[in-house]
Point group: C2
């Protein structure tokens, strides 16, 4: 394993400390338990948005704390759920009279721990469960996994909360974005979790994992590497089949790198995906390309499509000022 | 080789086309010859800033075209200089009465081709040569290589040009930023150039390349992998030895990922580097962490330090609106 590392036990804390120092104008790092909050106070009565999950997906979620997006993020160890005490402490730190909305990716550990925190919390709260990964069927026993579409929920609900939407409105909006969003990814290589010290799974030199999860979970199938057109077509086909968009539907197209894929390749994927979607009569109203929901050093990418309407477009375009998304600020 | 790829011959064009579509509000893609310009016209009399170089370092340079930074970028094939006809066509497209400033990384092919273009160009022009890589001695026969410090030159001179600085002022400012900047990187792994189809160089599982260039060039030495503290200390030592900063000097600290290094590790490197620099009495006034000057899918990072003064800080903070750097916009 070749990584920048002093010790497994100190990696998360050292990294969070560096993150908070590099962006001291935007975020603050709280220790024991670990969580990240905004540096600047929010308006009284604003709904507080909190997300979190295992580390290793950066910039998700810490890089999305700031004006117009999250109020706090709770990072667990790599690919490991944060604990309820982190969520509780974060909620107590940022609750400001408007209640707390938890944005939770659908993984058993995350769901359980956020539920415990919600029960312990003595203020109004609600949870949006993100489950955008269409590599699993809709009726899968544990539900679909939450992947790169989480960013869309955090950005759009974050904008609404900033503009004064109440807790019930934010919750309904988050559910709407989740329902409007479909993602699927593929891995060219595995990632290596520091504590494990070796690749999570093995792919031959001519194999890819189609429908991979953001922790390297098995997807639809292990298959032969093919050209970019063929691989992107498979992703787009699965997404469109799931969303069943109308002709002329406005969409947001998000190409997400898993960590080790060069920008040149991500933009090639964008080019192919955009052509396929336009051939189906869809209208790409907004685009986002880059490493946003990563899987450490995995090579590969996911494609996310969100069905947009005027409300969602306006909220997407609203000001955001975080370490990793920043516009109109 | 596992990459998103249709064909080697079409990769660059497909990727540039996707890039321009994803950021159609900011950039335009011109074909035959290839170059990228801003979508929105600039003020008459503004100095036009043009950079370029081999592709594979994205977002450098295409991702830095836009308000407050470059007017045009000329991308060559992967790790291959663009040709003079690209630079000439770009210059003719964006020259707007204020002359042209070429920002060129110090590599023989780039230098030669930009010189030919400058000679063919029938308007006032000047060139800033970037040579910030301190892994080579100052008196090296071909000079030092231009690496991640190029971003600093493009951002700071870009802001000055936007504010109305003339060609001579922009040229002098670019030379000043270059003189104030020192960078050094290390590779944990090689990158794989698509046309070659295999890693550029070979490192054993316990080896790193200290002082590597952004194309995988040999650096100071191949050495054993050590912990993050030790490796970062070596980079910082070389940089500080070169810059010889005064106590309390204001600096910008830039941690640049080479493409396959997770954000967690880049922020760990930031944490260590920041502590070392502060221990030497330096004042970290600005920070930038992320993948900005990449080497395709290489794992590793570089550290860049620029000595800042009030003029440079104000220009760094000035509005910028490009695909990959965006603030106060």
């Amino acid at each position: 394993m070749k990584k920048f590392l002093n010790a497994i036990d100190t990696l998360l804390e050292e990294s969070l400390s560096g993150f908070a120092k590099a962006h001291a104008d935007i975020v603050q790092f709280h220790q024991q338990p670990h969580f990240i909050t905004r540096t600047n106070p929010t308006r009284a009565g604003k709904v507080a948005l909190i997300s979190g999950g295992g580390s290793g997906h950066e910039p998700l979620h810490t890089g999305f704390v700031g004006l117009g997006m999250l109020d706090a993020a709770c990072p667990g160890q790599v690919f490991t759920s944060p604990t309820p005490d982190q969520m509780l402490a974060a909620a107590q730190a940022v609750e400001n009279g408007g209640g707390v909305l938890f944005i939770v990716k659908n993984y058993a550990g995350d769901v359980m721990n956020f539920e415990i925190a919600a029960e312990m919390l003595d203020c109004a709260n609600a949870t949006v469960l993100v489950a955008d990964d269409v590599s699993l069927p809709k009726n899968h026993s544990t539900g679909r996994r939450g992947v790169a579409g989480t960013l869309l929920v955090e950005k759009i609900v974050g904008a609404a909360a900033e503009q004064g939407a109440d807790l019930a409105t934010c919750k309904a909006l988050g559910d709407k974005v989740n329902a409007n969003t479909a993602s699927m990814g593929l891995a060219l290589t595995s990632c290596t979790v520091p504590a494990l010290g070796k690749p999570t799974f093995i792919l031959a030199e001519d194999e890819i994992e189609m429908g991979v999860g953001i922790h390297g979970e098995h997807g639809r199938q292990t298959q032969k590497l093919s050209n970019a057109n063929t691989m992107v077509e498979q992703l787009i086909h699965a997404i469109v089949e799931d969303l069943q968009p109308e002709k002329n539907q406005q969409i947001l197209l998000h190409i997400n790198g898993f960590g080790a894929t060069p920008a040149m390749e991500l933009y090639l994927v964008y080019e192919i995906a955009a052509q396929l979607l336009q051939q189906q009569g869809l209208n790409i109203a907004r685009s986002l390309v880059g490493n946003y929901t990563t899987s450490l050093d995995m090579a590969g990418c996911s494609i996310t499509v969100t069905l947009m309407d005027d409300e969602l477009l306006a909220l997407w375009d609203a000001p955001v000022h975080t370490a990793s998304l920043r516009w109109h600020c």
